[in-house]
């Protein structure tokens, strides 16, 4: 009886290992997600923005809550080559770096830019980093998905 149980257990473990070994293992390296020009998106009544060119739709309500504002006229969105989304808007004090996951955007980093809030921000894709220009003040910031450079 004990012998049978042991045999069944070993068989089960072997099958589990075999199943795990046969799972998806194909990985493509060096994917460039860089969006050449930022998207300027106008939120709808439900605080959702939709970028038709790059095919992404999400709600900015959590970001507004984080910034403590009720609404913005438009948000600026750009994706770097690693695939992280950078989001900000006029009046925001931070740039939010988001990582795409299954049906969600997960916060990767919050990069503080200006205590008084950005006047007229604009993202530029600059090869190995993202450039943020505040056209109102003339300040320029360089950043990656983790921090200001």
């Amino acid at each position: 009886m004990v012998q049978n149980k042991r045999t069944a257990l070993i068989t089960g473990v072997v099958l589990l290992l075999l199943t795990a070994a046969c799972g998806p293992s194909l990985v493509i390296q060096g994917v460039d997600y860089a969006q050449p020009v930022e998207s300027v998106l106008i939120p709808g009544d439900d605080q959702t923005v939709h970028d038709q060119r790059y095919a992404i739709r999400f709600s900015i309500a959590p970001l507004l809550a984080e910034e403590g504002v009720d609404s913005v006229d438009e948000i600026r969105l750009i994706r770097n080559s690693s695939g992280y989304y950078f989001v900000t808007a006029a009046g925001f004090t931070n740039v939010y770096v988001m990582n795409a996951a299954e049906s969600e955007l997960q916060l990767q980093a919050t990069i503080e830019i200006s205590g008084s809030g950005l006047g007229n921000p604009a993202f530029n894709q600059r090869g190995d980093h993202i450039e943020l220009v505040d056209l109102a003040s003339g300040n320029v910031y360089r950043m990656n998905e983790e921090e200001l450079l």
Binding site: P36, V37, E38, V40, R76, A122, F123, N124, Q125, V133, L135, G138, V140
Partner: protein, 407 residues
């Protein structure tokens, strides 16, 4: 107003370009704004190119396109990404193609405008000359009607009226010749362009033609005192007019009455027919009178065919009588007809008779041949041979008598 707007747009555009250059120079710019500006300025340039209406507009636009390209060439890569699948190069190529097409269109428009101005000037001159001739004719006609009692004055006025008709014929022939040269052979694209351009004209050649014909009809119907050669001349002018109209009528109608060309062409043809009838109403009786005044009584006629038949019958019958009777009177009749036929009809009216299709060359030649037969039949027969024969007999008899008496 338009120049001021263009000037303002020009300044704004220059400022925009300068602003673009400055912003890119400071490097504190937004790629998004650069591509947005590119799109906006490109659309604006396309609009200007497509709506340009003069060469000066295009010269300005050419400079703007060069400036535009210079400013955005350094952002070509960014713009290529932003407007994918289109490219900066393709947009510039498209813009320059549009510009080239606009240059060609405007050249065509400007050429057409020149033609319209030229045409308007010609039509204006023609209208003025026509009005002048018509006014003279109306005045002379009124004077003729008032002076019917005074034969001497009437004769002078009729002579002046005749000169007026000749001057008008000469003027109209010039107008028709000009129309023939211009409108006889036009391809469809030129006709369409001319038609479009002619819409700017208040008065056009088709109107002039209708006015001329209406005045010709009026002149033919109204005036009295004209004679056979006057109407023969009108007949010639009518045939010339009809010949030209047959060659240009369709084109002229399509150019100057494109929306109702068939109807317009028919209207002129109807006027030509009406004029021909008016001439015929006067011509046949004037010819009858002319022959009668020269003691030649022809059978009644009312067409070219019956006129020829009357002439042929007159000569034929006279020839038959001369053959039978051969009197001095017949010979005198022959000399009278021959003198009138050769001295007046052929020498003075010959050109009008043939060009006006009153008689053909063959018909005139036929009358000439019959006249020769009449000449032979009417010439008095000679008695000389009989006299000589009788004298010879008398001489012979005399000689015989002398010989017998000597024996």
């Amino acid at each position: 107003m338009r120049i001021r707007i263009n000037h303002t747009i020009s300044i704004l555009f220059t400022l925009m370009l300068v602003a673009g250059v400055l912003s890119s120079a400071t490097a504190q710019s937004s790629d998004y704004e650069i591509q947005q500006d590119f799109r906006a300025e490109y659309e604006e340039l396309v609009s200007w190119v497509d709506n340009a209406v003069s060469s000066s507009d295009l010269n300005e636009i050419s400079d703007r396109i060069d400036g535009f390209e210079e400013v955005y060439t350094e952002h070509a890569s960014l713009i290529n990404s932003a407007i994918f699948p289109d490219t900066f190069g393709a947009r510039m190529s498209d813009l320059r193609s549009r510009y080239t097409a606009a240059v060609q269109n405007i050249e065509t428009i400007e050429q057409l405008n020149e033609r319209v101005e030229e045409l308007a000037g010609e039509v204006e001159q023609q209208r003025a000359r026509l009005d002048e001739l018509n006014a003279q004719a109306d005045q002379l006609l009124a004077d003729i009607q008032q002076s019917e009692a005074n034969e001497e004055r009437l004769s002078v006025l009729v002579a002046q009226y005749r000169q007026n008709i000749e001057a008008k014929d000469e003027f109209v022939s010039g107008v028709l010749q000009q129309l023939l040269q211009r409108y006889q052979s036009l391809d469809s694209s030129v006709m369409a362009e001319l038609s479009e351009a002619s819409e700017q004209l208040d008065d056009n050649p088709l109107d002039i033609i209708r006015t001329i014909l209406a005045e010709y009809i009026n002149q033919t119907d109204q005036v009295s005192g004209l004679e056979a050669p006057d109407y023969l001349r009108m007949k010639t002018q009518h045939n010339y007019f009809r010949d030209i109209w047959d060659r240009i009528g369709e084109n002229v109608s399509q150019v100057f009455a494109s929306d109702r060309s068939v109807q317009a062409e028919q209207e002129v043809t109807d006027l030509l027919n009406q004029w021909d009838s008016s001439i015929d109403n006067k011509l046949w009786s004037a010819l009858t009178t002319a022959f009668n005044q020269n003691e030649i009584t022809l059978n009644e006629f009312n067409s070219s065919t019956t006129f020829y038949n009357s002439l042929e019958a007159y000569v034929g019958e006279a020839t038959a009588v001369s053959r039978e009777v051969n009197s001095e009177e017949d010979f005198e009749n022959f000399r009278n007809f021959s003198g009138y036929w050769n001295g007046i009809v052929k020498s003075q009216w010959g050109e009008y008779l043939t060009k006006g299709e009153v008689l053909t060359f063959d018909q005139i030649s036929s009358i000439d041949r019959q006249l020769e037969e009449w000449n032979q039949a009417a010439s008095p027969t000679s008695n000389l041979m009989l006299i000589l024969f009788l004298v010879s007999i008398a001489v012979i008899i005399g000689l015989v008598v002398m010989l017998v008496s000597k024996k």
